[in-house]
Subunit: 204 residues, 2 copies
C-alpha cells in the first residue's frame, strides 16, 4: 500500500479500456498499474502487479469478470473487486455478489461514480445500485436447474432438438422435456422467449 490507489483494469474493448484508464488517470489519487483484455489474464496480472482494486468487465473472452472475481477473491482476499458492466441484469448482480465483488457498477451510470466507487470499496464500503438491488431481490434466485440452463444456452443459437440432443448427448425427448420445464418456469410460450427472458435476467 502506498499513497496512490493502484488499479487493474480488465475490459476487452481496447478503446473503452484505454478511455477508462484516461478517465481514472485524471484522478490524482488513482493510478492504473495494469490493463488486461481477457478474463483469464486477470489472476496473473494481480499477482505480478501490486494491485489495490481490480475493475472487471463481465463480458470478456477467456473468462467472465465474475469468474475472474471469484478466482482473485480466493488468491488475494484483501484485494477489492469492482464489477463494471454494460448490462444491469439482476442475475449478474446476484452472482457478482456471490463471487465476492465489493461493488457493481453499470456503464450507463455517471462517470464520476467510477472513481468514487474505487475509493469507497477501499474504505470498506460496498457500492451497489439500489434499483438494481431491488430488482435482483424481487426476481428471486435463478429457478433453472443446471441442465435446463445447459439446454437453453445450447438452444440459443437456433439449434433444432435433434442437434441439441447430439451436442448434449441426450435423447430428443429429454431435450424437449428440459425446454418444456424451462418454458414453464419462466412463464413464457416457446424456447425463443425463454432464451430471451433468461438472458435479460442474467440467468443464462
Amino acid at each position: 500500500m502506498s499513497d496512490t490507489i493502484k488499479v487493474l483494469l480488465a475490459e476487452d474493448q481496447s478503446m473503452v479500456r484505454e478511455a477508462l484508464a484516461a478517465l481514472l488517470g485524471l484522478e490524482p489519487d488513482i493510478e492504473v498499474v495494469a490493463q488486461v483484455a481477457r478474463g483469464d489474464e486477470v489472476l496473473a496480472a494481480v499477482r505480478e502487479h501490486d494491485v489495490d482494486v481490480a475493475l472487471l468487465d463481465i463480458e470478456m473472452p477467456g473468462k467472465t469478470g465474475i469468474e475472474a472475481a471469484a478466482e482473485v477473491r480466493r488468491a488475494r482476499p484483501g484485494l477489492k473487486l469492482v464489477i463494471l458492466t454494460t448490462f444491469g441484469r439482476p442475475g449478474y448482480l446476484r452472482s457478482a455478489m456471490e463471487s465476492g465483488a465489493d461493488a457493481f457498477l453499470v456503464k450507463d451510470a455517471p462517470a464520476a461514480q467510477l472513481a468514487e466507487a474505487v475509493r469507497k470499496v477501499l474504505a470498506g464500503e460496498r457500492v451497489i445500485d439500489p434499483t438494481l438491488a431491488a430488482a435482483a431481490l424481487a426476481d428471486g434466485a435463478n429457478p433453472l436447474t443446471d441442465r435446463e440452463r445447459d439446454v437453453l444456452r445450447a438452444a440459443a443459437d437456433g439449434s433444432t432438438n435433434a442437434e441439441l440432443a447430439g451436442k448434449l448427448h441426450l435423447s430428443q425427448g429429454t431435450v424437449r422435456n428440459y425446454l418444456s420445464t424451462a418454458i414453464q418456469k419462466l412463464a413464457v410460450r416457446n424456447r425463443a422467449e425463454a432464451v430471451r427472458i433468461a438472458r435479460e435476467k442474467g440467468w443464462l
Copy 2:
C-alpha cells in the same frame, strides 16, 4: 474553424462517453465541445455548437448513429462523421457508408486510432478497417426485402405467427411465407437462426 478540432460525442453509456471525452481531452489539438446520449439529440447539438467532427455510436436510444449521420450529412454537408461501434457488422459498415460517414471504427481497435481518425477525416481521408471492408464486400448487399426484415425483426423476441400477424396486420400465412423466404435467403433452417444470422451481418 479555429486551431483546435471541435468534436461532438454521441454515445448512450455515460461512463463510456465521458471516458472517451477524457481520452480525447488528452490530445492538445482536439476539444470535445458537446456530448449527447441519444441519437435524436445529435442534430440539435451540431446546430448549437460549432462542430468539426461528430463521433457517433450506432446503438443509441431515439435514433441510431447511422440515422443521425444521414440527418447531419443533409443539414451540414461539410461536417465530418465518424461512426464508432461495438459491433463490427458488415451490414453496419455498408449502411454507415451509404448514410455518408467518413470513418468507421470498432471499439476494440486501439484507442490511438480514435484521435488519428478524427485528424484524418478532417484532412479529407476516409478511415475504414480493411478487414471489415472486405467482409462487407464479400457478404454482398442485404438480400432481404423490407417486409422480410420487418417480419424477422418482429419475430426476434419469440413472438408466435399469430402475434406477428396481429402486430403487422398480415395473415398468418403471409407471415409464414416471409419467414420462409428469409430462411431460404439466409440459408438456415428456422426463424431463430435467421434472426441470429441477420443480426450478425447487420441486416436487421
